[in-house]
Subunit: 348 residues, 2 copies
């Protein structure tokens, strides 16, 4: 009999996720082929996605998904391998993506599983979660459907060294915009300029950040792609150009706050500068995923889209470490936990 480690919600965090307290790791006998019903697949996890939005799934409030319940396995996107199948759509050995959660082995209905699509020649298996996965798609739809940067526009992206921000910033560069990326710390700042090729990288922890932010936006901001909320959002509102678009993607600065804050002093620039501020969730665009992935894969193959990833090895047992890394700004690019490595990458 094999065992299944699961990362289970033990109590709702009031602010930060507390290692060993918010979640408990449990170990139970793993499900087997014998447990499968028609149309289901048995999956083993290879990589688990860690994203700031997951923090929101822990709050017991109306949102775009129901909250994870106490005692449930934490929801997470994963890359997995089919161990056994009672679905005509999948066979043992298939590499798939699905919301298997933070556990080693589990069962999903076929409708919640997607076969891995073919990757470009320089693609990696983990791109299925990252640049070509939900992360890349989030950046793509946010930037192209709401931000809509034109050549010569000034675009500012917060958390630009993060998984979504880094892709969003590069999509704006591809559109011909002047792109300013904001991240925490000199290492990330340099990475934005030197690796991603953004026009300006800004370190929000630097003493002269406000001054540098102003200097970097002499023609104001046409598109602001927000992943952080809080003070930086307020600063961006203060530098917003007339008819600018604010793409509301995330608000990591507020996710762990007991009392959540919105923008303040500059909020009413939304009227005086006629700003369009719009929130979105990637699956609003599910019917356009295929076309978007094709475009992202082409850019990745051409080297126009670079991606970084931070992979924590250690499986489900390292999930607490992964959350701490995520909310302490410890990762550059896409953060994942490796449960089991796989040599098997689907190729174009």
């Amino acid at each position: 009999m094999s065992f299944n480690k699961q990362f289970v919600l033990a109590q709702r965090p009031k602010t930060n996720i507390v290692p060993g307290e918010t979640f408990k790791i449990t170990q139970k006998p793993a499900p087997t082929e014998a447990d499968l019903k028609d149309g289901q697949v048995l999956l083993e996890s290879l990589y688990i996605s860690f994203d700031p939005a997951m923090r929101g799934w822990l709050d017991d409030k109306r949102s775009y998904l129901p909250p994870v319940q106490i005692g449930e396995v934490m929801r997470a996107l994963t890359i997995a391998r089919v161990l056994a199948s009672k679905s005509s759509k999948f066979a043992a050995g298939d590499i798939v993506t699905g919301t298997l959660g933070i556990q080693e082995i589990g069962i999903l209905p076929e409708a919640q599983v997607e076969k891995a699509f073919d990757l470009p020649s320089n693609g990696k298996l983990t791109d299925l979660l990252g640049s070509l996965g939900t992360t890349g798609l989030t950046a793509y739809f946010g930037m192209t459907k709401i931000g809509m940067p034109k050549s010569g526009d000034t675009v500012v992206v917060s958390a630009a060294a993060g998984a979504t921000g880094s892709v969003a910033a590069q999509i704006a560069k591809i559109a011909g915009a002047r792109v300013i990326g904001i991240a925490g710390g000199e290492k990330k700042r340099k990475w934005l300029e030197e690796e991603l090729g953004l026009d300006v990288g800004l370190d929000y922890k630097a003493a002269d950040f406000k001054q540098k932010f102003k200097e970097a936006t002499p023609k104001f901001i046409d598109v602001y792609f927000d992943n952080v909320g809080g003070e930086i959002l307020d600063m961006a509102l203060g530098r917003a150009a007339t008819f600018s678009r604010f793409v509301m993607c995330g608000g990591i600065s507020q996710y762990n706050a007991e009392t959540k804050a919105g923008p303040s002093a500059n909020f009413f620039n939304i009227i005086s500068q006629r700003i369009k501020m719009q929130g979105f969730i990637v699956f609003d665009f599910i019917t356009e995923y295929a076309a978007a992935r094709k475009q992202l894969a082409q850019w990745l193959g051409e080297g126009k889209l670079k991606r970084e990833e931070t992979i924590i090895k250690g499986g489900v047992a390292s999930a607490d470490e992964a959350f701490q890394t995520l909310f302490n700004g410890g990762n550059i690019g896409k953060l994942m936990v490796e449960v089991k490595s796989s040599e098997q990458s689907p190729r174009l």
Copy 2:
């Protein structure tokens, strides 16, 4: 020689406009026909418009119009009569609208003056500033271009007993929406239900306002037309429906605040509920004024659009009283100061 009373900015208010301090009334020899240059008209003021947005013109910051400077006549929209003209477009006696400011007599270039359009049979001269003027147009464009209510939608309008809000709420009713209007005090609340025919009137000063607000929006809010900002905006975000539209028209609760606040606890519903929050200024739609006025005039003529007005008699000397009335919520409908009454209403 005749004299011209002017209401002149003496010092910028930090918070509230202070009677006798923020502005000074001066009296100078009035300009005459002899002062006119080619293309200019000499105007005498009949009615002066008082609108919450005027408070924003006093702050020395980047906005949609340059701030009024210390020593300048306060900017204001007016209905005026042409006393003399060196423009081929206007003749003495014409009734016009223009930004003559808070003064009795002044000169404007012809490009800044518009001839009064014909009113429906039940129209009043003051409709040129109110329901068919900038106020009505603001409500019209905000509601139809951004709010876009459909039949059956739940629409909430703040400051619904005000000049703009009352028109906006009625436009939503005409579109077939269920309309909830918010205003301060039982008198206004009743007026919203009994005179305007809104589905629900809410008094934000009532002790049970929060509870009543929730009860009035069981299917959440599809369109929120905001004139107030602050706490009520935050409450509306908390009750926002998925894919709702937030029409950002004004923020009167914040105009006099030394430290301006935006929405707070519920701000990030903008993401989870995919809200589109958009600011606008009426003159963004200047090319569509004629068509919009025609529609508003038709509704007014048919009795579908009701309007109230609060007129303070006393001319320029009562401008301070008018500002106090405006920011203390003393008016229902459009607030104006009468400088000189006129029997002469342009008729259809």
